[in-house]
Amino acid sequence: MRRATLDLWLGLLFTSLSVALLRQIAAPSVRPVPLADPPNAEFPAPAMSADKVASYEIHATFDADQHRIAGREVIRFVNASRAPVSELWFHLYLNAFKNDKTLFLRSPFGAGRSGDKARAYGYVDVKKLTLVGEEANDLWTARDRHSPEDPDDETDIRVPLPTPVEPGATLTLALDFEDQMPEIVERTGYAGSFHFFGQWFPKLARLEPDGKFTHFAFHAQSEFYADFGDYDVQLDVPSGYRVGATGVLAHESESKGRRQLEYRAENVHDFAWTAWDRFESRTERVAGTEVTLLYPPHQERNAEAELASVRFALPHFNRKYGAYPYPTLTVVHPPESAGNAGGMEYPQLITTGGPWYSALGGAHAIDVVTTHELGHQWFYGLLASDEHASPFLDEGFNSYAEADALEAQYGAGSVFDGFGLTVSSTALNRVFSAARAGDEEVGQGAAEFATFRSMGALVYSRTAVALATVERAYGRSRFQRAFGIYTRSFRFKHPTWQDFVASTVGELDAQAVTALRAAFFGRGTVDYLVRDISNASVTPAAGVFDGPNGRENKKPELPNAASQYASRAVIFRHGTLQLPVDIQLGFEDGTKQLRHWDGLGNTYPVDNVGPSRLVSVYVDPEERILIDDDRSNNWVSTQGGSAPRCFDQLLFAVQAAFGALGP
């Protein structure tokens, strides 16, 4: 009995020590090394206001039990193009969840983001569309019944106008609609009493300067594109529900068990909101912005992690890409049962996500998703490029900005830092990028990608890796300055790839832009490799020589008498991307040399004559060419091939496994 008691005490002692140690080990071990800030040179001042093409006043009454909305909207449309507009295109994206034959739901699953199918369907019914002042003429009756060339889809609808709208003229429309929200498939809908309303109201497509609309049916891989405007949205919700929304809460009242809330947002191109009767809330002012965090009960740890990310990333992005112009930001952490609503961006509102334990241990999952979605406020929100035609300009550029911010905050452990292991965002992006290198064109439209996985690897990761490569190869401050000019100059302007190229003039070499163009539009790849090393003794020339003094016989010297060696290694470049690269030469006497190759041509012979044999060649030792698709062939060494660290770690791991699971 005494022995058993002793055993129990000993066990408890070691358990306590182990728990204390575990806390130490799970804590981050690395601190970020501050990277050079962008130069203090003046950036162009970003625009203060957008061209307001489509502004909305919406009144919405929310029935939480039936998951329905009864709405009325007034649209103020300005023809900001050069040509008369004789038709309107409406995006009714809630209809993507109407039945299994819609473009969205019939997509081969696995192709969409969540991979889920609908369980309870959702749709939007437009009851009436009139010009204000001409209520008798319902324009909706003249609409096309389905999306162009797709009789099963009703997400992209054309409405002819009785008379064209001349350039500069304004059209005011009134529209009645009813929403039936789906159970959440992706982003919008309900899970229990949690509701998220994205793409919930009939919305005009984007009017281009030539007077044509860029409109498209809602594809499972695609995101959005719309004109800027002002939004005034009045919501009528059950009293017990806490609401978060785009914009500023301008007015709030309560009567008969219902709350009336009025949100106003200026210079935005969408409006989203959420309502749940179990939300917890925190509010904090960060860099002059009022940040409201809505999160499920018992997720205080996640909430704190999200606020910590915003506290770092908001001023970071302000500094790099121009100040966030809105007074509020709402961060929504959906409950685990509504995980598909998480990880999304809307103007002034982002959703994060993850189970309650996400912020435990060394994983930075919460920081990654929060920083990524916050970054979208600039690339999706303020630049507002066409995410359907050029998703890489939003998701890819934002993934680069996200990795940059995370590594500024957490260093090499920006994705994971614990138990002695660090994983960086750059490393993760690189491995996804290399896995799909050259499969498809990065710069193509969202719907053109073979699968969402392919799109994820190429649009998100490969774009970020290509940009990070150019940053590292041509200089961080020059690249970041070009990027900062781009994000400021094209605020509210829906920039294209050509606009990005224009903003790099004077900042980036033509070779860098050519490489980016090839990476994004030419399925460009690169693999630097070196195969072998050769060394030869340098001895005085031997043989028979006829000179002015007659014939001379010179005998060859013995090789071991040589005091000089001629060494050669050849670096090869496979693929189409031409990027400058450093080459480190290692010699037998321990000395090292660094050579630089501009990356032009297919081969680069490295010759050296010196007192010591060349024993190793290492292409890109500073890991600048992240887009190099195979790094296992970047070196040769006559002394390599040993793995003492792996031997030690793996032996210990196997021994420990036998200890735990063996006899």
């Binding site: 009995m1 055993d7 334990y357 970047n634 070196w635 793995a643 003492p644 032996l651 200890g659 006899p663």
Partner: protein
């Protein structure tokens, strides 16, 4: 053969050399068998090409793990095949480890026979050791299956409630099952001790261990606790140490220190196991003479 181990301090002092011999024997056998399992994995790492540069495998331990992930990517097919081979070799190694374990128990019993004689005896007992192990694995698998079924059953009732409960309840059940598995392992050790001590049949040894569990449940249950806790502590100490040792830039001396620390930890855990095996022999002797 009947043996009644003394339980006073004199006996403990006298048995120390045998404990040390048993510890070293178990460490050597575990290390040799681990090397066998390790071989295909190391070859796959080398075949990936990621350690053939001038910095050898130091590049895999750089902050950020860029080249470690690259090794998993380019070496995935070879690493996958090596892992499957290693798992097969592990199964063989686990069976093989029964022999030194039997010899270690024998060493802890008395100083008499020579080592070859003890090995011959271990070979004789080997089928019964395998039988006992099989029964233990079956019971442990049943415990884990039960925990898994209960977790699955709890999933939908818990889904609408507190998210933490939905996650922690299955985890709690798993931990309970693992504790149960540990206890089964302790009973198994008592049965093994009985087998070595008395050379009974496999069934008699099992019954004898169950009688021991009935008579001294706390001693059997608590006996394995310090072994598991001390092992966890030793392994965590190593992880803590490695987290502070910059392996990417470690000198040969640091690497030697790392190796010594790892092996020291393994020896430490084996010493605790040997301490428990001695207790198991004593428990076995007390319960059925």
């Amino acid at each position: 053969m009947n043996y009644f181990p003394q339980t006073d301090g004199t006996h403990a002092a006298k048995r120390w050399p045998a404990s040390a011999t048993a510890t070293v024997l178990l460490w050597i056998s575990r290390t040799v068998l681990s090397l066998l399992v390790l071989y295909p994995l190391l070859q796959a790492v080398k075949a990936s090409g990621m350690v053939s540069g001038p910095d050898a495998d130091a590049v895999l331990f750089r902050p950020g793990s860029l080249l470690l992930l690259e090794m998993f990517r380019v070496g995935a097919p070879a690493l996958g095949a090596a892992l499957r081979t290693a798992l097969l070799l592990s199964a063989i190694a686990v069976l093989t480890q029964l022999l030194p374990l039997s010899v270690a128990l024998d060493l802890l019993l008395d100083d008499g026979p020579s080592l070859p004689e003890r090995f011959r005896r271990a070979l004789r007992l080997f089928p019964r050791f395998v039988g006992l192990g099989g029964v233990a694995i079956a019971v442990q698998a049943a415990l884990l299956l039960l925990a898994s079924l209960l977790s699955a059953g709890l999933k939908s009732p818990l889904q609408s409630g507190d998210e933490r409960l939905a996650t922690l309840a299955p985890l709690f059940l798993l931990v309970l099952a693992l504790v149960g598995c540990g206890w089964v392992g302790c009973v198994l050790d008592v049965a093994r001790a009985t087998l070595v001590r008395t050379e009974q049949t496999f069934r008699e040894a099992l019954v004898s261990a169950l009688i021991c569990l009935r008579e001294e449940p706390l001693a059997v249950a608590a006996g394995g606790f310090p072994v598991a806790a001390a092992s966890a502590f030793a392994y965590l100490c190593c992880v803590w140490l490695m987290a502070r040792l910059d392996l990417a830039h470690a000198s040969p001396q640091s690497l030697a220190f790392s190796f010594a620390a790892h092996q020291g930890a393994v020896l430490f855990t084996i010493a605790w196991r040997v301490r428990w095996l001695r207790q198991a022999i004593a428990l076995s002797a007390r319960s059925n003479g």
